[in-house]
């Protein structure tokens, strides 16, 4: 099992979500984050002083998947989140040792199988 974490543009969330659903991914946890990378900051001004908001709003998706789902998930995200401009974001893949579904106590791959599937 892997934990896939993707940082994407906020306005790409709807299409990424769509693509993930199509790829059969059901469990997703998202959070609002701020990212800094190659993309420059936004220059704002306030009462005559300029300043750079160096971190841009991003959305982070955390998705736990069984091994066979890793490739399709990454593919789905890459395709649906890409604009080709700097700031599209990154995907990180980490090892995941255990998963527990709190409701049932099911473990690992079983815990990852969507309800009703």
């Amino acid at each position: 099992m892997k934990l896939i974490t993707a940082v994407i543009r906020p306005d790409k969330l709807p299409s990424v979500k769509e693509a993930l659903f199509k790829a059969g991914v059901r469990g997703i946890t998202i959070s609002r984050v701020s990212g800094h990378g190659g993309q420059g900051g936004i220059i704002e001004q306030y009462r005559g002083s300029q300043f750079v908001v160096e971190f841009r709003e991003k959305v982070q998706l955390s998705i736990a998947v069984s091994d066979s789902f890793v490739e399709p998930t990454i593919d789905a995200i890459v395709k649906s989140a890409r604009t080709g401009e700097i700031g599209d974001g990154k995907i990180f893949v980490q090892p995941l040792e255990n998963v527990v579904r709190i409701r049932t106590g099911e473990k690992d791959t079983e815990a990852l199988t969507p309800v009703g599937a």
């Binding site: 704002e44 306030y46 002083s49 750079v52």
Partner: protein, 437 residues
């Protein structure tokens, strides 16, 4: 005896003279009193008009807050800029040109004598009306219009469109001659604002993401507290808008009419809120908040034309119909892909027309003339609004880029966010100065 005779005569004459002297003194006093009372009445009329004008001025922040609440957080600075500049631009343009066009007063109005109303106070009262007409458009085109385009429109509206159309009735023009009735401006202010908004929305198109094929995406406003409070301010401001339009106050008849107008106005607002709430409850299973507040405004716009003649129960009926109209109208425009985030077209346009016609139904007005008049206003405003924005579209452009729209007008047009990130972390950690010198 002769002496005595002259003595009597002397007595008579001196008595008479005394009486006359006494009378003359009294007469002077009475004349002075009459003049003084006339001044008091003039002062009372002035105070009333200024009081009602200030109440109407409260509608400006009311509109700003309502629009701010029903739009996204990323556009709030732009919304306040527009609403503030409306008042600013009207304050200069209507003063310099508009009032003159509308009422035949001199340009750059000064020391204006209006005859039966205190001229200077009346000017200020009319000014806040002009600002209202412009502001109505703001909410409908929010979230996508260039600030410069809006400023230009605002100036043309308060300097030309509203004054010219207003002169047809309130300036004693041809509609006034026909016997058209619009007491406080269901047509002249609201339908004009609402249908200019329709023209503007058709020219600029819907917000990005509002329509996806045949799907209508809800784009919920970001803050219902702002919207709710804004509507409260509008409601209270209407107690200046309608009663103040009586313009004279110092007689028993006038002041009783004014009190009646308060009551009729409030009845229509209440009825509009109630009918819109009940209808939304029936349609959507839950009492809908934004429909209810639109219902209040619908009732208020409806009664505006006939607040002096549509009384008591009839005000309730007229207002309730307004509340129903606004719900269906909002749903209809949504389906027609006319994207009006605050419902300005429905509230001010549709209910403005309805309210004007209602004077012909419940208020003793000539129905034909009422229909004609309100259609003229609606059509005129629609065409003007559409034309101005189409001209601007093909000259300076009226719409921000897609990227700017997604990012929000606050950053795009004013370089600053409405809600600063320092909000969440406690101090502005993500900021660093670029150029402080």
């Amino acid at each position: 005896m002769n002496k005595s005779k002259f003595g009597v005569l002397g007595l008579i004459v001196s008595l008479g003279c005394l009486a006359f002297a006494q009378d003359a003194e009294l007469a002077d006093k009475v004349t002075a009193l009459e003049a003084s009372l006339a001044e008091t009445n003039f002062a009372l009329d002035t105070l009333s008009l200024l009081f009602y004008a200030v109440l109407v001025a409260f509608m400006q922040p009311g509109f700003a807050l309502l629009e701010a609440g029903l739009h996204s957080a990323k556009n709030i600075v732009n919304i306040f800029m527009k609403n503030i500049m409306d008042f600013v631009v009207a304050g200069l343009a209507y003063w310099a040109v508009g009032f003159s066009i509308m009422y035949g007063a001199p340009l750059f109005i000064r020391g204006y004598e209006a005859g039966w109303v205190p001229g200077q106070a009346d000017f200020f009262f009319q000014l806040v009306f002009a600002a209202t007409a412009a502001t109505i458009v703001s909410g409908a085109i929010g979230g996508r219009m260039k600030f410069t385009a809006y400023l230009i429109f605002s100036a043309v509206m308060t300097a030309l469109i509203y004054p010219v159309m207003g002169s047809w009735k309130w300036g004693g023009g041809w509609l006034d001659q026909l016997g058209f009735a619009d007491f406080a401006g269901s047509s002249i202010v609201h339908a004009v604002g609402g249908f200019a908004a329709l023209g503007a929305v058709l020219a600029i198109g819907p917000r990005l993401g509002r329509y996806a094929g045949n799907k209508i995406n809800a784009m919920p406003g970001h803050n219902m507290a702002l919207a709710g409070f804004g509507v409260f301010l509008l409601w209270l401001g209407w107690f200046g808008f309608n009663p103040g339009s009586q313009l004279a106050f110092s007689t028993a008849a006038d002041s009783t009419t004014v009190a009646d107008i308060f009551i009729n106005t409030n009845l229509a607002a209440s009825a509009g809120a109630l009918s819109a709430m009940i209808l939304s409850w029936a349609l959507f299973k839950k009492p809908d908040f934004t429909m209810t507040i639109n219902g209040i405004l619908a009732g208020l716009v409806t009664i505006t034309a006939g607040c002096d003649v549509i009384v008591g129960g009839w005000a309730v009926v007229a207002g309730a119909i307004g509340g129903i109209l606004v719900v269906f109208s909002v749903l209809m425009f949504d389906r027609l892909k006319v994207d009006d985030p605050v419902g300005a077209i429905s509230v001010h346009g549709i209910c403005g027309v309805w309210g004007t016609i209602a004077v012909g139904i419940f208020g003793g007005g000539n129905l034909g003339v009422q229909v004609l008049g309100t259609l003229v206003y609606a059509a005129g405003a629609f065409v003007s609004g559409y034309l101005i924005f189409m001209i601007l579209k093909y000259t300076i452009g009226i719409r921000v880029t897609a990227e700017e729209e997604v990012r929000g007008l606050d950053i795009a047009e004013h370089g600053i966010e409405g809600y600063s990130p320092s909000d969440y972390v406690g101090d502005p950690v993500v900021l660093s100065a670029v150029a402080g010198d």
